[in-house]
Chain length 158, copies 4
């Protein structure tokens, strides 16, 4: 599973990026996990579904009906923003698209867990703990999909 | 989604029941959510998959590889037994098959949340809070599937 | 820490029991942890505070102001009923006083974790998993306090 | 409650800052909540205890014995890094001291929740969501304590 995280709402460019990236994942045998709501989350789910992929939405509330219409498997948690950590745990790689503080928390938790984080127009981190990865910046959906593939087939991503 | 909860390990009869019940759910448009491990959880996932249904495993650990082989969507939580509450939250109806203390916690949390609980050879509860449901006892997988259907189409299950 | 769990609201007898028990814990060097709300939880906090003891309330919501006035340390979780598992984790022994389904979930999670559960007019469990403890029934607050002390000083409580 | 978050291990300067800050909080009627382990967490607990204050440690593991010796109330969660969100929820203000990715996740979750974050030699965030606060940078423990006080007595902190 690949987590796609980002703002809700988001800009049109962010939605286009998230959808285009997610469309490239099913052919690589990858499903998409998001926080299940709108903005980047919805765009990613839409892209993955259009390409025949699996989409999982890990929701902050307890009501599965709050999921965007492209979530195939809704996991309502009732844990609020604590569910950000579950989105990260459910994925092997995280792609961050723009985003605000919620997205930053997901980036941080993923890097803390040693999971590769690929970023497009997202936070720039000014510190890099010794021995740890930082965000891998990409400039296109194709490059992001390629980096996802590399991250999953190698021990380390530079 | 229907949660199927029960012991790990479990008896052969319990596994047969869980598998037979789960086999009847996809034709009703229902997926199965479990705690993702062995015993009743594995039997239910096997039955649902054999009938072409969706299976979700909400795991206690952080490693998705711990899921039984019939889990299609693994959600590793790293929350230990606290994940029992997430299994219940992810379902509209809970079916309890035998089971020990973990199963009892899931039954209690489901009833607390006002969700119907259908039970086969499971705990007998000696108290029933005012205005609350208790476990709906069944004697066969067919009856359980029927009660699940009734629970999802009515406001209350008697 | 000793968890005192039970209904909210509760009967006058239950409140009396919880308060009397909690009053006996500080002299044994024990603090009280509860779910932080009313009923049995509030009575236990009141008793412990009156005897100079520490009280911790692990709340279902995100607002610390929801704690009863006898909670010294409020831990708002925003996790709803999932916080029941945290109440159990925070304690070495659990005392159950009456109670409904939420209390039953706490009893079950504690027994699952191998923690001693002492009960007064609470659920009777009709099954006992092999090798596991069941609820230790008591008839007075003094007996409950004594059993708590035994549980904390021995490897096993019969 | 004031959360003090930061690295484990940490530098001597960071420990000195955390301890000096925490020592100033009890006289303001404030307790300290941390993640309960070493480094900045331990230094903050030590400072608060030396000044007679309350210290709460919300631990990643299920074992209360993992808390540093200056934690008065240990809350073992068994939730791993998800407990970072509980540390933030338990506080009205967060002070970040240096820190790595775990600290960054706590900063992000606090800002997401609209809670003031005061920082000393910690992450610099290059984005600031519209209408949201960013980190309030301070240069001394005294200034940090003053900013904490301001944050708690005003609706907004500039």
């Amino acid at each position: 599973m690949v987590a796609v995280v980002g703002g809700d709402p988001c800009t049109e460019e962010e939605a286009d990026f998230a959808e285009a990236l997610a469309r490239l994942l099913p052919e690589r045998g990858l499903g998409v996990v998001t926080g299940g709501l709108g903005g980047v989350m919805e765009a990613a789910c839409r892209g993955a579904r259009e390409a025949g992929g699996l989409t999982v939405g890990i929701l902050p509330g307890a009501n599965p009906g709050a999921a965007n219409p492209f979530v195939e498997v809704a996991v309502p948690t009732g844990m609020g923003e604590l569910r950000n950590g579950l989105v990260v745990r459910a994925a092997e790689v995280v792609v961050a698209v723009g985003g605000e503080y919620g997205t930053l928390s997901e980036i941080a938790l993923a890097l803390k867990a040693g999971k590769p984080v690929i970023g497009w127009r997202t936070w720039n981190l000014d510190r890099r703990p010794q021995g740890a990865q930082s965000i891998i910046a990409v400039t296109s959906a194709e490059e992001a999909a390629e980096k996802v593939g590399q991250a999953l087939t190698s021990d380390g991503v530079s």
